[in-house]
Symmetry: D2
Subunit: 305 residues, 4 copies
């Protein structure tokens, strides 16, 4: 059976993303310790895909993901999934709030819920956990080293706990965006609500260099939904840019922009075109539609003979 | 025999341009009264080509030329020629300077030489002539109505006069640029020192509209050697732009820019690609060379499968 | 009495422009032979102003005007006026159409009316005239050398002729734009429907250079109503640009653009801000209004202390 | 004594950044649990400054930092510091490598060192620690729950351990960039090697909107050293941009760009100008130097009167 690697164990937000992915149905899900490990599984072929966080992660690794996608050759994103980040206070069934003295929590999750804890459990002791699922499992260790745990609100799929409070994190609308990464070189079919991910190095560092790059998109009516500069470790003072575009490789304007981009910079990595998590269709200015491209081609063909 | 129309009579600067054109050899040269007439001959097919002034003309008609090229369909420029504008003071052989009382001159040529005349012939009377050649012919009318004439320095090819002074015009380096216009729809082969002429209407009048148009050239490393806005008579407050680009339709970057331009504006008139009068090759930034275009296409082909 | 120079004689389209100019009332109008002469009068101080054609002239001299404005220091435009170009066929009172054998006409006007003449007077002979007014005066020479004349439709203010036909020119909506040029260094007050004229040399010749210049306007929401490239005679292959902007030196966005332009190019000539002939107010995007400029300044002042 | 908050405890990389900051000398350093807590201390005035990670953090919180800087009003960065991220394997003095069975480590640090551990300690058990310092302290708990710990290479300043191996992290050149954040509203003096940080919301979401923003920098020769888009939680589909510019508020081009930016977007947050960690001076194109700005102002002053 084909395998998909993800930041485990079962019960993490990354696993929640896998549950949203049609491509993950009927595959074996292999929990791994971090993003690099998941991507290496894909690179080596031991897994057919990896689910990794690419924006806003509570479980870490976003810049690591971006840097890995830039440096590991042959990776392709085939889908994206957005998971709300919601934490709960979990206890052994029957434990009342005022019996909680010790609290198991992954340090990052603990930080996210700290404000609520200061108000509601000002006297507790923190016992660090290796993940947001292990924290729940620690409630059942013998001898018991924790009375309560910070867990995803979905934890009961993994561990038989009772949730005393939900949404205890500081940011009520936090979401993490995940990408399903493969080595497939075919591109998922166009759906009209697609996104294209790229990594581009500027050919030289100069004022306006970034703008010259973005001009390739603006001049073709292409919207960017994400951009991040990342320093290139091997070339101090130089940057690569991780960008998400609205549109699909099979859209004429995206294909045209990729060609323009590749002429501008010899270092362009195409990370894939895939349906975006937001289901609304991409709005396309008629000036840059496939029909307009076809019309210009037809006109051009009349210029000679 | 095939005919080429030009602003006559024989001896005008326009005829001098014809003498520079290889395409004009062995054709019949038909003098006409103005640019519109010459272009209509071409449009009707009674002439295979017309030589018209397109920049800086001393004989008038530049904006008329531009407007005609924009509105008469099917015209193509196949060559450009630059003629220095040099005027002489011509007399009947043997006439001394101090015998000159009356001076025949086309009014525009007269204006060009006025400063010299004020210094050298402060007392003369001006007799208007219909062209820069007719002025010379008027020296031999009976009764004589002029003692001297302003003529091109080349006038002796037409009329047997004596030149008392050369280069009497106010601007010693004045030049007129001419274009040979046809209805041919094949494009002269690429020489590496080519120019492409276009007329483009902005799709709407707004600040930045012109810049959006020019971006199509800048983003492909294309230099403009001429640009002129012309009001569109039928649409007050709207403009068309007459532009000359360095490069040939068969250059990948020019073809690409034409496609981009046509998508941007539904009203693009391709006036032709042809060797420019200046013989130096067009400098091409390697980032926009045919090789770079080919390389990007090759890269693009690897993105799928 | 103060004097204004113009392309004479009385009765020309240039004089018609003077009649539209409030600044010309009560001044002496001095007819001169061409644009250069008119501008030199202003430069020398013998005239306080000159009326010159700056677009689409039927009487010649537009590029000459542009080049003169670029090279004669200290000139300022203080007003613009648009005159419709309408020609008539004039005769001695009582002359019927079928008695016309010879026709006096300035060669450029003759070219403009040629198509009508071919249809209506196919057998006439052309007698060149030095101006569109002299042609009418020639009707009354003794012996009579012309039966009819091409003149402006307004000719009866100068010469007692009869007009057999009006609007005989090829282009029924032709207009010429004129500018009143002075050496005044104060700027006419802002009216809300102003235009600013500039001449700018690019600092270096390179693809995209023109766009970098235009960016100074686009990035401040400024519309260009005219642009023309003019070769710089002293620097072959280099260009200056004559541009008209919508707006006034006292508009914050225009002042800001002028500063940006001057930083971009050391060679910027400010030719003046003045009410445009079209009376409609300039539309200003609120993003570039004086209020927005003031608001940004106020915000900026809060950044420190 | 004035207090500075930082992500503690003593011994973290964030504390290492504090040791690099001249401003931190002689202040009390208050360890807190996360970035938000540190910034709230500053906002409330209980601390005069906070040291927070702003790029590439191993201890988490970069996007949290960016979002907090965007939403907490009145914060200013006054300095930046770069700390190399180097991990060691620490043991109780005298413990040999082959005696290590259990390993205390913060989960994120554990992920970073996982590859090395798989090779060198394939059989160990992971005991999670709440921080990179607590992991070392756990070596001395009774009963001993860990034989080794992953710690910063500088851990011996806090805990008396022996380091068996240094630089065991996967990325040998990893660095984290930190910012010292205050509520001071004066701006540190210009040093010639300064950086300016901003957060800008686009006024509307449209293709080319980002480019229009960047144009404000490009058109003034300003280099961006960092850019990141961040979704705005309250406005789905809209973004703010965190940008670092090379230059100081007191540089004319930066001041000019801020004004242009504020006119473009009503939502600009100035996060401060401060010496950048990289000590090399900012290269300034003469076209955008203070001298060029002054020269343009002087020219402008001559346009009237």
């Amino acid at each position: 059976m084909e395998t998909i690697s993800y930041l485990g164990p079962a019960g993490t937000f990354t696993e929640a993303a896998l549950k949203l992915a049609p491509e993950a149905i009927g595959k074996e899900w292999k929990p791994v310790a971090n993003v690099l490990e998941a991507l290496h599984d894909v690179q080596l072929g031991s897994s057919v895909a990896a689910m990794i966080a690419v924006e806003n992660s509570i479980e870490g690794g976003v810049t690591a993901s971006q840097d890995a996608l830039a440096t590991i050759p042959g990776l392709r994103i085939v889908g994206e999934y957005v998971v709300p980040i919601r934490f709960a206070l979990a206890v052994r069934p029957g434990t009342p709030m005022d019996a909680v003295r010790t609290l198991a929590a992954h340090p990052v999750a603990y930080g996210q819920c700290r404000r609520w804890l200061q108000r509601m459990l000002p006297e507790h002791a923190h016992v660090p956990a290796a993940s947001n699922v292990v924290s729940a499992e620690m409630l059942f260790q013998t001898p018991a080293i924790a009375d309560a745990a910070i867990t995803p609100v979905t934890i009961r799929e993994q561990v038989d706990v009772e949730l005393l409070h939900e949404d205890i994190q500081v940011n009520p609308t936090a979401r993490t965006r995940f990408a399903l990464v493969t080595t497939r070189t075919d591109v998922p079919p166009r759906t009209g609500r697609d996104k294209t991910s790229l990594i581009v190095e500027l050919p030289e560092e100069r004022p306006g260099g970034l703008m010259a790059m973005l001009e390739q998109f603006a001049t073709r009516g292409i919207n960017l939904s994400m951009i991040t500069s990342r320093p290139i470790p091997e070339h101090p003072g130089r940057y690569r840019f991780v960008v998400d575009l609205d549109g699909h490789l099979h859209d004429a304007r995206i294909a045209d922009a990729l060609l323009g981009l590749r002429r501008y910079s010899p270092s362009v990595t195409f990370l894939g075109s895939y349906p975006r998590a937001v289901a609304s269709p991409v709005a396309v200015d008629p000036a840059y539609s496939d029909a307009t491209y076809a019309e210009a081609e037809a006109w051009f063909a009349t210029l000679e003979r």
